[in-house]
Amino acid sequence: MTAADFQALLPFMCVAAAAVIVMLVISFYRNQTLSAILTLAGLLVALASLPIAWSHAPRAIPPLLRVDSFALVHLALLLVGTVAVTVFSQRYLEKYRMERGEFYILLLLSALGALILAAADHFVAFFLGLELLSVSLYVMVGYIFVKEKALEAAVKYLFLAGLTSALLLFGLALIYAALGSMEFSALAAAVAGAPDGLSPFLVAGMLLVFAGAAFKLSVVPFHLWTPDIYQGAPAPVTAFLATVSKGCVVAVLLRFFAPLDPASQTGLFSALAAVAGASMIVGNLLALLQDNLKRILAYSSIAHFGYILVAFLAGGENGPAAATFYLVTYFAATLIAFGVIGYLSPTDQEADTVADYRGLFWRRPGSAALLSIAIFSLLGLPLTAGFMGKFFLVAAGAAAGLWPLLIILTVSATLGIFYYLRIIIAMYSGEGRKSEGRTADAPFAPTSATVLVLLAVLLIVIGIAPEPLLAFIQAATTLAP
């Protein structure tokens, strides 16, 4: 390890150090606000260290990690997501009178797992990052266990995630047996060496690894946990589950599948295409009849990751960029949605049914406007970031000639109008009497308000002038095949 290696690893070390510092501070002085501030400071320092790491990119840190511009873009995204979750958590824990700051250690460690995934260049790093992320999430999902359904959610998540991580381990065994190495570069070499098809063990192993990742992404058929866990987990944790824990998996999959050429791997790619298509259809159909906002968002997230898989399958020059750009828009919108839900939830129960949002606009116009922007972006309405994201996705898919998937995308996204609109209509109907919906009256804390407004502005700005970000992402995320 050289000094340059250390500098390239600075973002990871900042997050890890923050976890240790929070732990030490907690053992002397227990205050969740202090822990939150320290966490936030650690994350911001990590964000600030990104330019330093950037100056050393691309740099392989043997044998596990690879810090390049692709990884750093995802790192930035994941860190920003974690910052937002930290801010939301502070107020949420306060509401439940959780004066214990251990939660932030968990948050930092799972964020660390996510960062490792985004920079993973080795199957061991993949496994370790995923486990670190998952295990922290098992705990975080059930952390506020006085909340209704939290324990159930935790136990469901643990059972399913445990099962898939066993499969993942088995997949790694297959890959190691076939390759004799666990580096991603060995995979690329094997692909280059066998243009007429890979060893079936390798393909089976890759599919099992994909299954482990698909569980986190909650794409069909590994999606079943999503609505229950979204509903049961505390809103900030749901925000984390919906964004950071999925974004990092997209990053690692992009890198892992980058060397593959769709034309020569028809079997593998048609399996993935089936997963993408099924996710779009099932997600959008099942979102139709949910009465719970969190469940609606859960099913729609299944569909969103189906869309992202389309970009992923498109590959080529624009595939990774389209997926990354879509992730940015999805992150911002989803964080706003769960941030607002967390805020509006009174202490006894979360405000998460559509009925709770009746007439919200007339009671709390600010919250309603934020939520509307987020939902419009998720729906992909023009002049929001979501539209540009979808457009880029469709363009990448069209360039790769994925017509059947694009037709499914368009048709199933149309269903989105029905369920997203229900939320919007509920918010703008009614007379604004307090009795109409069960939401908290407390005003937004300045920190959260800042974060939420910034995210909303981001959605609009990207929607109107996507060029700078788009060009940046396109330049940064080209993965050499």
């Binding site: 486990e131 295990v135 159930e152 643990l158 381990l169 088995f170 065994a173 190691y176 047996a177 719970n292």
Partner: protein
């Protein structure tokens, strides 16, 4: 060629899955213990047959090519510890569920949740 290891891995996976598919939390817990053993063995089996090889400890007089592959062993070691961490949390979680919900059965726990709001309108 390791016929018996394959049989062992298959049997352990099969029984583990059978137990996990039950509705009793205790059975599921047992299933997870078995599953973690099974996955570790599967990983280890990818290091190839141990016949004629020595442990991966470099001592004079043994060629490195005649040693067992240390990499899967290292990964399995990590996996054992991680599995134990998860298991211990699961034990406490089940205890907590028993204290709060007075049940040790998934069917009962989830059945209760189904009758409440949040799901699709019936």
């Amino acid at each position: 060629m390791m016929f018996e290891t394959a049989i062992l891995v298959g049997i352990l996976f099969g029984f583990a899955v059978w137990l996990i598919l039950q509705s009793s939390f205790v059975k599921i817990l047992f299933g997870f213990i078995l599953l973690s053993n099974a996955a570790n063995l599967a990983m280890l089996s990818s290091s190839g047959s141990p016949s004629g090889r020595s442990a991966p400890v470099v001592l004079d007089g043994i060629a490195v090519t005649a040693m067992a592959d240390p990499l899967p062993q290292a990964l399995v070691l990590t996996a054992i510890v991680i599995g134990f961490g998860v298991l211990s949390y699961l034990v406490v979680l089940l205890y907590r569920i028993f204290l709060d919900q007075k049940t040790t059965n998934a069917a009962e726990l989830f059945d209760e949740s189904r009758s409440q709001e949040g799901g699709p309108e019936q």
